[in-house]
């Protein structure tokens, strides 16, 4: 069986709306966040997971990390069902949510890291080695004694990545890691992810709206829309398939957002 195995995954949420005048009960609406999604990912792959806002990407990541329990379907990650043994499962994975922070706001990075070391029970020697390796790759050396709140967004994202990789997870979920970053930081981040994937064999599932992230990093893309999987395969094929003008090459990055937009349109999103 593949490293990540997702079969017929369904999840819906009930959204209660404001009661209208003259109506006794509040109206309820069921939002189908995921409808019958299936896919498999092999160990060591770097997969891009894209789709318009509200497509169900984050819901998938949350189910894969054991935070949410799906309505139906089978999920196995490294042979484990994420939500059944959450504690055991999460010690093997790392997560970065681009819009939130996992480190402690007022304390120096080093203190946050040493707390994470204790939480994940990483042996001292292994921790030292890994920390050295990560601080070098992420150029964090000068920042280790700085409190998180004094870091810029780009520095913070690098610090977050370091925090989520300290325990050498087999699998890393990245939820919009390049959001709000400048060109230099983005490039540095991509280099690092490529390195981590190639050197350490970490499986990476990347959620993003930045198509250049996908072009730069992923050979395989999954497209999600309205809770269903619409495409799964190579990036080049995806682009030629949905390129309305038939002229755009993947190398010409300027137009990639337009291609994706036309693809979403063609798929009826």
């Amino acid at each position: 069986m593949s490293y990540i195995f997702v079969d017929h995954l369904c999840k819906s949420f009930v959204v209660r709306k404001k009661r209208e005048k003259g109506v006794l009960l509040r109206e309820k609406e069921t939002v189908h966040a995921l409808q019958d999604v299936s896919f498999e990912i092999e160990r060591g792959e770097l997969v891009g997971y894209i789709g318009p806002n509200g497509a169900g990407k984050s819901t998938t990541v949350k189910i894969l990390s054991g935070i949410l329990v799906p309505d139906s379907g089978t999920v196995r990650v490294g042979g484990r069902t994420p939500w059944e043994n959450r504690k055991e499962h999460v010690s093997h994975i790392g997560v970065v949510f681009g819009q939130r922070t996992q480190l402690w706001w007022d304390v120096p990075l080093l203190d946050s890291y040493s707390l994470l070391k204790d939480i994940y029970r990483v042996p001292e020697e292994k921790y030292r080695k890994r920390l050295d390796e990560l601080t070098e790759a992420l150029q964090l050396g000068d920042l280790l004694r700085t409190p998180l709140r004094l870091l810029s967004l780009g520095q913070r994202m690098r610090a977050e990545l370091c925090g989520s990789l300290l325990h050498s997870p087999e699998l890393l979920y990245l939820d919009e890691p390049t959001i709000g970053l400048d060109a230099v930081s983005k490039l540095a981040l991509r280099d690092f992810l490529r390195w981590e994937n190639a050197e350490k064999g970490t499986t990476i599932l990347l959620t993003t709206h930045d198509m250049e992230d996908i072009v730069a990093l992923c050979s395989r893309v999954m497209v999600l829309g309205h809770g269903s999987k619409l495409y799964d395969g190579g990036l080049q094929e995806l682009l030629t398939q949905y390129d309305t003008t038939k002229t755009v090459q993947v190398e010409e990055h300027q137009n990639i957002d337009q291609v994706i937009a036309s693809m979403y349109k063609n798929l009826g999103l």
């Binding site: 949420f13 990390s65 054991g66 949410l68 055991e88 997560v95 949510f97 939130r100 939480i119 994940y120």
Partner: protein
């Protein structure tokens, strides 16, 4: 940052000294009008000990509730941690540092005040030791209670309403507003059994000798029972909440 911590300690100290003086003045006035059965020195000691350990009572950790509201709780759930245990130790650490930093200088101030205004010495050395043991048990008890409160408030996204109500109960029945020793006897019989009374009221009574040394084991058994009960209840509540938790947005 350090300035901020020092400022907080100093500000708290001044505030608690002021409150303590006002309360003692009120009780002195009350005793001047109509003396109660309880000796005044017991009441002033009660007031000062309450003020010294004020930080133990008040819940100041809004972090978890913020994390739930903003969805940052997702990160906590991505850790190989027992969520209840993690937050219990957090609360315990905050209460301990908060009260130790404040209690020691407060006790010195209270001891320096003139007789009739300040604090008296413990009934005996064994009474002091019993009070200390009861204080530690009380600390475990209040942390467990706070986690139950948190478990209840977790269910609403904006917890201020529920929390205000629960804090009123806490302040009243822990003896912070009015020493429990001044409640009518029939009330006291019930109130002293509540978990609120286990936190500070019981250790203070052991200190002043109002609970004789022989009563100490019984007091501690009640404290222990509440702690076990509240921890168990809290764990169940948190587990149920965790199943229902839906992490918003992002």
């Amino acid at each position: 940052m350090e300035t901020q911590y020092r400022g907080a300690v100093l500000g708290g100290l001044i505030c608690q000294t002021f409150f303590g003086l006002v309360l003692v003045a009120i009780y002195r006035a009350m005793y001047a009008g109509k003396p109660q059965d309880m000796p005044l020195s017991n009441i002033t000691t009660y007031v000062w000990l309450q003020q010294a350990f004020f930080r133990m009572l008040l819940s100041t950790d809004t972090d978890l509730l913020d994390r739930i509201r903003t969805g940052a709780i997702a990160y906590d759930l991505c850790r190989p941690l027992h969520l209840y245990g993690y937050y219990y130790s957090r609360v315990l650490a905050m209460k301990m540092t908060g009260s130790i930093l404040r209690a020691l200088p407060m006790l010195v101030i209270a001891a320096l005040l003139p007789a009739g205004w300040g604090m008296c010495l413990p009934a005996s050395v064994p009474a002091l030791l019993a009070a200390l043991a009861a204080l530690i048990l009380g600390m475990f008890c209040i942390c467990a209670l706070e986690n139950v409160t948190m478990g209840l408030t977790m269910r609403t996204l904006d917890p201020r309403g529920v929390q205000a109500l629960l804090n009123l109960l806490l302040m009243t029945f822990s003896g912070n507003i009015l020493p429990l020793t001044l409640f009518p006897d029939s009330w006291q019989r019930a109130i002293t059994l509540l978990p609120y009374a286990q936190m500070l009221d019981a250790p203070i009574r052991l200190y002043t000798g109002e609970y004789a040394l022989g009563q100490a084991p019984a007091v501690m058994i009640i404290q222990l029972c509440w702690t076990v009960l509240l921890v168990a209840g809290g764990c169940l509540l948190w587990r149920a909440n965790q199943k229902k938790m839906i992490v918003q947005g992002g």
